[in-house]
């Protein structure tokens, strides 16, 4: 396979490398950190990195959704919950479970193997066409919303129904009277 210089978006690849490094380090810190809030904040860094990767692929709508849902809502609620219940400053000794390595490491490796296989098998030599000039992103947004509201309308409704059920369930559980 010949790699022609004109085929490679150098700036994008450098950006990808930097962001991916931050994401991997952040992800490691999530499981390694002995402080719940630090772990959560590292998770924020990973989420933000994912949003940045979407931006590099000129999928701006997905990137913004990632920020709005995961950073703006999920992580804020997560931190809110943690701080309301066990917001310990400093180290939390019983947070890390050292006995789980024997089970955890093989599972992690298996997961890595399965995901790499699926991704490589699924896309093989496909190249992502980055055409972020002019109105390409507007067209991409339109295509995305068309897909959601036509061919994927039924799964979309099913998902909304499940979420609604979850919300009502939460209210029923939380109400004491």
């Amino acid at each position: 396979m010949m790699l022609l210089a004109s085929d490679i978006e150098v700036a994008q690849n450098v950006g990808f490398g930097i962001i991916a490094t931050i994401m991997v380090l952040g992800a490691l810190n999530v499981v390694r950190s002995s402080n719940v809030v630090h772990a959560a904040l590292s998770l924020v860094a990973v989420m933000a990195g994912a949003a940045a990767q979407y931006l590099l692929l000129s999928a701006e709508f997905v990137a913004v959704t990632q920020v709005l849902v995961y950073i703006g809502a999920v992580m804020v609620l997560f931190l809110f919950g943690v701080m309301l219940t066990r917001a310990k400053l400093g180290k939390d000794v019983d947070l890390n479970n050292d006995k789980g390595w024997a089970v955890g490491a093989p599972v992690a490796l298996l997961l890595l193997g399965v995901m790499s296989y699926v991704l490589i098998k699924g896309f093989e030599d496909d190249k992502i066409v980055v055409s972020g000039k002019g109105n390409a992103s507007a067209a991409a947004n339109r295509a995305l919303s068309d897909a959601i509201f036509s061919s994927y309308a039924l799964p979309f409704w099913a998902l909304s129904f499940v979420l609604l059920a979850a919300v009502i369930g939460a209210i029923v559980l939380a109400r004491k009277d």
Binding site: T65, L68, V76, F80, L89
Partner: protein, 350 residues
Amino acid sequence: MGVLAVDLPYWAQSLLRVLGGTVAVLLPAGTIVYLFLFKMMSFMQSRLGPMEAGPYGSMQLFAEVGKWLQKEDIAPARADLKVFRAAPLVVLMSTFLLVAVVPFGPDAYFTDFDAGVFYMLAVSSISTLGILMAGWSSANKYSLLGGLRAAGQLIAYELPMVLAVIGVVIQAGSMNLQTIVIKQNSDSIFGWSGLGYPYILTQFVAFLVFMIAVQAELTQVPFDMPIAESELVSGYMTEYSGFRFLIFFIAEFATAGVFALIASVLFLGGWGVPFSWFGWETAGDIDNWMNVGGPLIMFTKMMVLAAIMMWVRFSYPRFREDQLQRFAWKVLIPVSLVNIMLTAIFKVAF
């Protein structure tokens, strides 16, 4: 920056954008603080306000900044230093990210973001994270309570803000802020185009809901439970002093300015004047001087909106925590949902 910067290399354009963004954040913040916080509040309370530094106290801001910069950088002994130091920067970052999407003229914008409205709503929620970080890392019960209150409030008031904006998006048929501005100035009301078609006329309810939600998002009176000084010293900012407090302070008023800019874009026609005044038909006909005049027009509209926000801030007493939550969930959200429904019906009918 199409026409203006077409000859500049990329690095120069980027430099210009960074400079422009800094000006767009700091200039409104400074003006709001001096004009409204120092002077208007003083006059409303029958006093003169700062008079010593410079003519009529106009150099007071520089004196204040100098004072803050000289102060010692103090952090509580048990504070989580890394998070404590990062928190004000996260809040300020959210402000800078917000301004990136605001258009100031036909070619004078930072990014022509197609999902601009959506981006604006997403990015404004990042400041909540910074406030939670500040509240937790200070190792202070008042701070933690303030941070938690702020988070609860910001989550509750983000919804009405999103829902209010949807009315405008339906009417404009676009989430691009630039398109929304151009639409408002090129459309006509029943064939009469002397005023353009600012959406405040048809979306007045959405405008009210948006401004109330913005007031709550900024944790300004009457929604300032997170920093309620009579209960919580000053909430999540209690332990901050010197430069770090200054960053929080700048972020608060800069965000007020940026939200006023966004409100003027969504409801008042943004940088534009009605295009029929100068015989422009489409966005391509706009004269180049609008790239200079546009920011000035935006600034004027922003000052009017900021004045209203500050006026409310200086006039009303504080809500109680449960009243605040009830107001968001039982009044603002239903009202904006009805507004969306009516807008959609009218959009389809006409």
